[in-house]
Structures are given as structure tokens and as C-alpha cells.
Symmetry: C2
Subunit: 514 residues, 2 copies
């Protein structure tokens, strides 16, 4: 058995049985070892950002890490934007980064780079396996690190000679650091704040946005008068008819300030104090009002569900009678196809247990509204703000949940960062329906350009935010990668296309010019 075989066997033993990869020469022993460990599912990506984004989507839905296999420093850098996003979702991930053989590094061959230094800024755990005999144990440590609450980025650098050298065998799984429980004294103190009658907001993210967390938070809110809110960008929000809903913080800082205005107690469950997404001249970055007391009920690494349920009990919130979203769908839209019509069509037709990946950005703003009363579903946002996550995230969610429909809401500009994901969807026949909101512009930047106070905005500036020269043809693009696609021109045609896409297994893309 060589190091690579011991590695893959260990990953599988630790429950990591999907690896999204874009390998190169230094990873050939890993690739060759795949046939000896049939429990590992290898998934090929044409670009590394697809691999890391897919690992994020997989982790959010499977609640366990996938692995990626990346080729040396440059392969890692190609995947780093979506590692950044995954880290902000607290998604566990095990990145295996191939490197030159240990003795080869000194020759500084063309592909050589300081992989450790490149990986460090975005890795919560980082290690280089220099000996084949150590690879298995290192892999077990990597998985345990990834699974350490709330979910971490573990990067294992694998020199080629550690991969091809002799190893003893796989290593046993290690226990991961579990989520800590909130202390009773903290619960009591927060319960007292809730009973004070002062204006209180309960701000949720992470585990708190799973159905159980939402139920407990809603019970608390209804019983005490506290408002229940979520961060703007949730890693995974369970929502829909029959589930409690939660008010989302606004994206733009001035509106987010209004959200929290007058708040005297801010209780955090599964999140940290909110800040403005960007800085703007003469606007505050701090969203927490002056004098507001911040209470940490559960950090992202703590068990927010248990803490919320404990708190609900402490304040004496009734177990039943909490408000849930009523089943309600918009009518199927008719006439002109615009962002609102697309959102209505999605709301009218969203299937039960759908997974919605939302990188619809500016044009996608109506979809959360029209789907609030749709059958229960999961909603995945871009938590890190680096656009180009949607298609990969949908890919990973579909790998994790083959029995559920994945709906990927994508801006046209966003889609183009990692468009190669369409090919992996086609290759793996993933049940992903991508809806492209094509406004042919970096529209958010047109808004931001005004908001940042740029004095004069000329033609050349506007041109840098305009992606209509030339227009992108997403139907041809999808077809070029083996994905069925269409471009409906009316609301009725959109609904027909969306229904058909949901009915027919495999990936589909619907381009909506909005």
C-alpha cells in the first residue's frame, strides 16, 4: 500500500467519501489509487473553484466534509475564493493539495511555489505530510480538524513522494471537537435580559437557522417580544410553509442600521456581531447601536440549537402555538418576463425539499419573498461575498442530496466566474436547474458606484460595469458543456420551462433576460 492508498482509505474510514478534483502530474498516484477504494466517489471539475465551491455545498447539505484534490500552489489558488466563502459558512472541508516530491522542491522547478504560505491565510488547519508512513494519520487529523466545530478548512499538503512511497495502512478516525454547550449562567443572564422588557433582537445564523433552532427562537420571540432576525447571508436556512420564518437583516448598511435601531439587547445565536458589508464614506461600519448590550448565547462553534431550546425553557416560552409560515404560493405569472415574474414563477412551482442556492444578487431580491410560503426547502446564500459560488455550491448540494431538486439562482456576471461547473453537472447528471438573471450588467456595482459617493460617473466607468458588450448567450454556453438550456421570453414560457426542468432529471439552465 502506498501513501495515496492509505490516504483515500483513511478519508473513507473517516466518513469523507466524495472528492471533487482537478489533478495534475503530482497527484497521479492519488488518482491511480481511486480504483482500489471504490467507496470514494471522485468527481472531476474543469476548474478548481468548482471543486472547492462544490465541497462547500456538499458540506452544508451533508453536514460533513467532502475532500478536494488540487494541483500544487496554482491549483490551490484557483480554489481559494470559494474556500474563503466556505470558511465564512463554517463549512468543513478537507483540501488535499499535491506538491512536488520533497527532494524536488530545492530545484525550484517551474511549478514550484510555497504551498504552505499560500494555504495558510485561508486554512484553519494546515499540515504537510512529508513521509508516506504519516499520510494516513495526517489525513485522520485533517478530517477531525475539518469537523471541529463549527466546521473548519483543513489543508493537507501531499508531496508526490509521500503519495507514492510505502505506507502501512489506513488510520482510524479521530474524534472531532464537538460543539460546546452554553453555560447555564449565560442562559440565565440572557433570560433576564429578555424579561427586562427592553428592546431585544435575537440574531441567528449557522445551526440556529435549522428548523429546530428557528422554532426555539420563535417561541422565545413570541413569548418575550424580542424580534427574531437572521444575518443577511445564511449558510443554510430552513424555511417554507409550516416553518417559522425569520426577518433577514438588510444588505445595505443604512437599512441594516434601521433594522437594529433602538435595540437595547442583541442576542447572538450561531453568529457574531453584524457589521456593514462594505465601508462607505461617512457611514458607520458598526451596525450595533451605541449602548446596545451584546449577549453571546452561542458562538458559531457552540450548539445554538440546544442553547435556544434551553433559553426558551428558561423564559417559559410555550412549546406549542409558535407562529409558522402559512402555505401560500403566488399565482403563476403572466405576460412580461422580469425579475418579479421569474420570482413568482419559482414561488408558484418550487418543489418540496428543494435546495435553493441563491446567487441571484440584485435581480434575485424577489425570490425569497415569493417562496416564503412554498413547501419546506433549504436556502443557501453566499456567506463570504466572493461571487462565483452559486454554480459550484449547487453542484455540491446535488452531490450530497441526489433525491432533492436543486435550484440555482444566478446573476449573469456571477455565473461567469465558475461557469465550468455546468460541465460537472452534466457529467454527474445532477438535478440542478439554474436560473440565470441576465441583466447584462454588474448591476450591484452600478448601485454601489452611486452609493460610495464617487463624484462624477463617466462613460468609461459605466463601461466597466456593463457586460452587454457583447451579450453573453447562456443557452449556447450551457449547451457547449452538455447542459440543456432555453431562453423563455414570457412569464408563461418561463413557468413551462421551469416545470419541465423540474420534471426531467439532470441539469437544466433557463436564461431570463431581465
Amino acid at each position: 500500500m502506498n501513501g495515496a492508498q492509505s490516504l483515500i482509505q483513511t478519508l473513507v474510514a473517516c466518513g469523507v467519501d466524495v472528492c471533487v478534483m482537478n489533478p495534475g502530474t503530482s497527484e497521479m498516484h492519488f488518482v491511480a489509487a481511486l480504483d482500489s477504494v471504490p467507496q470514494m466517489r471522485p468527481v472531476l471539475a474543469l476548474f478548481e473553484g468548482v471543486a472547492t465551491g462544490a465541497a462547500d455545498g456538499y458540506a452544508r447539505m451533508a453536514d460533513k466534509p467532502a475532500a478536494t484534490l488540487l494541483h500544487l500552489g496554482p491549483g490551490l489558488t484557483n480554489g481559494m475564493a470559494n474556500i474563503h466563502n466556505a470558511r465564512r459558512a463554517y463549512s468543513p472541508m478537507v483540501n488535499i493539495v499535491g506538491d512536488h516530491a520533497t527532494y524536488h522542491k530545492a530545484f525550484d522547478a517551474p511549478l514550484n511555489s510555497d504551498v504552505d504560505a499560500i494555504a495558510r491565510p485561508l486554512s484553519d488547519w494546515l499540515h504537510t505530510s512529508t513521509k508516506p508512513a504519516d499520510v494516513a494519520a495526517d489525513a485522520a487529523r485533517a478530517v477531525a480538524a475539518a469537523r471541529t466545530a463549527p466546521g473548519q478548512i483543513a489543508t493537507l499538503i501531499l508531496p508526490a513522494d509521500a503519495s507514492w512511497g510505502d505506507a502501512a495502512g489506513p488510520a482510524q478516525p479521530l474524534a472531532a471537537v464537538a460543539r460546546a454547550k452554553t453555560a447555564d449562567t449565560t442562559i440565565s443572564a440572557i433570560a433576564a435580559a429578555l424579561r427586562s422588557g427592553e428592546r431585544t433582537v435575537l440574531l441567528l445564523n449557522g445551526l440556529a437557522l435549522r428548523e429546530r433552532g428557528l422554532i426555539a427562537a420563535t417561541r422565545i420571540g413570541q413569548h418575550t417580544g424580542a424580534r427574531v432576525m437572521s444575518d443577511t447571508f445564511a449558510g443554510r436556512l430552513q424555511r417554507g410553509a409550516g416553518r417559522p420564518s425569520v426577518q433577514r437583516m438588510n444588505y445595505f448598511a443604512e437599512l441594516a442600521l434601521e433594522d437594529l435601531k433602538g435595540t437595547q439587547h442583541l442576542i447572538l445565536a450561531g453568529t457574531k456581531p453584524p457589521a456593514a458589508f462594505f465601508a462607505y464614506p461617512d457611514k458607520p461600519s458598526q451596525l450595533v447601536p451605541e449602548g446596545c448590550k451584546v449577549h453571546v448565547l452561542a458562538t458559531p462553534a457552540e450548539d445554538a440549537i440546544e442553547a435556544l431550546e434551553h433559553l426558551a425553557q428558561a423564559v417559559g416560552a410555550p412549546k406549542h402555538g409558535y407562529q409558522v409560515e402559512a402555505a401560500k404560493r403566488p399565482d403563476q405569472p403572466r405576460g412580461k418576463l422580469d425579475s418579479a415574474a421569474v420570482a413568482a414563477g419559482i414561488g408558484a412551482l418550487l418543489p418540496e425539499q428543494a435546495i435553493v442556492v441563491d446567487e441571484g444578487n440584485t435581480e434575485g431580491i424577489f425570490t425569497p419573498l415569493t417562496t416564503a410560503g412554498a413547501p419546506p426547502h433549504d436556502w443557501l446564500y453566499n456567506t463570504g461575498g466572493s461571487i462565483g459560488i452559486g454554480l459550484p455550491l449547487a453542484t455540491g448540494a446535488a452531490l450530497a442530496c441526489p433525491d432533492r431538486k436543486v435550484i440555482c439562482l444566478e446573476g449573469d456576471g456571477s455565473a461567469m466566474y465558475t461557469i465550468q461547473a455546468l460541465w460537472t453537472m452534466a457529467r454527474e447528471r445532477l438535478d440542478v436547474t439554474t436560473v440565470i438573471f441576465a441583466n447584462r450588467s454588474y448591476k450591484i456595482l452600478n448601485i454601489e458606484l452611486a452609493r460610495v459617493g464617487a463624484a462624477t460617473v463617466g462613460a468609461r466607468a459605466k463601461d466597466m460595469l456593463d457586460i452587454s458588450r457583447p451579450n453573453l448567450d447562456f443557452v449556447a454556453m450551457a449547451n457547449s458543456m452538455g447542459v440543456d438550456a432555453c431562453r423563455p421570453e414570457t412569464a408563461e414560457a418561463f413557468c413551462q420551462a421551469f416545470e419541465r426542468a423540474l420534471r426531467e432529471p439532470g441539469p437544466h439552465l433557463i436564461e431570463c433576460i431581465v
Copy 2:
């Protein structure tokens, strides 16, 4: 005047007048400032790897840096693979990386990251402008650093408040550190080695591969019996009819060892000692034979042309009568379209002063042979081994040389890393003809999988190197981004398509199933 305006004015004053960009909110003041400095040409890319690869291509052809504008840490990481390649080509480059406002960093907003740590491993010069008044002077230092011999990666991190705050005005250009001259004593010592009658190889890269360097090296070789060779991957090689040719070192280590076998003196001009591209079990990484004396005539940072001319004089090489490549073209191919036929067609039709970007990889191996006697042209290789450079490099070369035809030879697998470059080519109406060698495989990895000694290769391993499931349709892909494209099925049809593409201005793509 704000910091952003002072920055762009300074860049222009320092001779940097092209900026390839993918901006975000934190770069909006930079974008807004573009209209006030019409000498700066902004070029939009849909993905940051296109921006950095284009800056590399621009620098190789213009012999001066372009700037890039990237959005925070993730935008930088998206561009880093091609920064790695550029660095290995010693291409000067000025990366402007926007960051959150200085005071906003502490809030750790979703897009926050340690940009300095991310940039450091691949930056030769790195600085954060924390004060708007300093931005101009910092920009002048960045350009000087980029222009420091042999060409460096300069990264200037620009917090949003440094961009929008008040600045005094642009800064004056600073002198860059010029290429050092080789000492006379070194020349004499190397001349003595050349006169020794022992087996000598003169290994060239960088400036030494410009026509003047090649002439001097060839004079030395002919006069002394030394063999003249180049590294496998040259940043820019001037070649074609009427120019001296140079033997290229083999890519595969065992063949490269043969190239240098028995060499007693290895003279380096514009390069460093060669090493195997990858390590393989039981094969050496070191290509320099044991006992061979290595002489550094000129490091990449030194003036290899002057050193070679000086050395030619020192050994008494005649000024005239050096051998050049005879004008010679293959006949236009007929019948079956395969890699050899594509290469023959390109050789038959390559226009004078063409710029050939070669990321043809496995299938592209015949093109250097069929074009050796074509009219004079420049040949740009991937110097860093991170695939996905070809289309961006061609984009940048075309930006630098609007009067020349750019031919981009691309593998299908390689093309997909940065396929978004096609859109920028269409947008800027660049004269680039891309030839896709579609073998529907990571063919090099199929070769490497056997070479690394992987014992058994099963179906799942092979599947990870196979990109035929589904096949990519590069005609639809190119059309989707506004690029004219076709898929000729015979050698004759290829020649017709290639001729038409050269005749008609603007980008074209020809997909060849080989």
C-alpha cells in the same frame, strides 16, 4: 483629487497605461476615476485569471508592465495562478488589489481577509497604501519595482479609504533597477571554457531569446562548437526564417537528461540551472550532469544580450555568416484533420510578425516544427506550468500589439480554466485566432499516469483524465461569448478557416477534434 485619481495619473506618468480589471464595490472610486485620466485604457475581464494572464502577455510583448485591478483577497486569489506563471516569465506586473477601508478591517465583514498574507508568496514587492496622500508615491514605487530587472510582480493593496480620501496629486516616475552587466572577468572565464574544447552547452532564456541574443549565441556556438539550447518553456522566443534557431530542451526528464548528457560546461544566459519539470520515482530531478561545470554568463536579471555579444567578441566569433533558419513552409495539408495537419496548416499560413501563444500541450507538439521556417514571429510559452494561461496571454499580447496577428494554440482542457478570456477578446475586438486542439482528454496526464509508475490504472482513474463525458463544444462556447467560431472536419477546411480568420479582423476560434 482623491487617492484613486492620483494613483491612475501616477500609473500613466510611469508608462503604465493599460489596466485589466474585475472591480467590486471597494474599487468603485478607482473605476469612477477612469474618466478623469483618458490616457489609461481600462479593459474589463469576467474573471481575474484573465486579467493577470493578460497583464503577463502584455508585458512580454510591450516590455513594460500593465496594471490589474482586483477585488479584495478573493479577487486576488482568482488571479494568482497566472501571477505565478508571469513571475516565472519575469514579466513586470502591477497588481492593484482593493481592500476594505482601513477602519473597516476590524469588523471582519464577510469579504474580509488578510490580503497582505495572501499576496506575499507571489509578490516580489508588496505594500499597503494606508493613507490617500501616500497612494501616488506608493504607485510610483510599485511601477519601479515591477520594472526592476528582470521584471517583478508588484502588488499594491489599496484600502477603499485610501482611494476615496484627498490626495495632493500624482507622483513622478522613479528609476527602476536596470539590468546589471556581466563582469569582464566572468566573460573571460567563460570564454576560456569555450576554448577548452570540452563539451559545452549554452542554455538560453529571457532576453537571450530575442533575435540579438540568438545571433550572438549562434555566433559563439558556430565558432566554438558549443551547442545552443533554450529552456523548454521560453517567455518569449523570436524565431522564424532569417533568424538563428535554437534547440529546445525536452520536457520529459529522461529526454532532457539525454539533451545534456556528457556536457562538461553549461553556460547560462538569462536562466538558471535546469531541473526536471516534475519528480518521478527513481528518476533524478537534477538535469545537470555530475561533474559538469555551471557558468552563469547572465542571470535572468542581467543583460543577457550584452553579455552574449561581449562573449562572442571575446571568443573571436565572426560577426557574419552565422546560420539562420531558411524560409520554408510545409505544403497546405490535405485529408484527415489531426494534430500534424493542424500544425502543417499553421506552418503553411502563419503571417509575418505573428505572435504565437502556445498552450497546445500534448497535441501542440508539431507546431514548433512546422513553423520553424515561417516568416519571423514571436513564440510565447507557459513558463510556470499552471495551465489556463493561453487565452489570457493572447488577450494581453493583442492589447500590446494591435497591428500583429495573435495565434493562440490551446488544448481543450487548458482552455477551460480561463475560457472567459474569449469575451474580453470579443469586447476589445482583439485580433486573436484561437486554435483548440480538442483531444477530449487531459492527455498529458494519461502519459504521466504511466510515467509516475502507478502500478495499476483502473477505469475510475482513467475517468478523471477524460473530458469527453460530455464533450465540450467550443464553437457554441465561443459564440456564447461573441467570438466567431467553426469546427472544420478536414485539413483543407482547417486551412480555409485559418486563412479566413487571419483575413478578418477580430477574434476567431477554430475547434479541431484531434
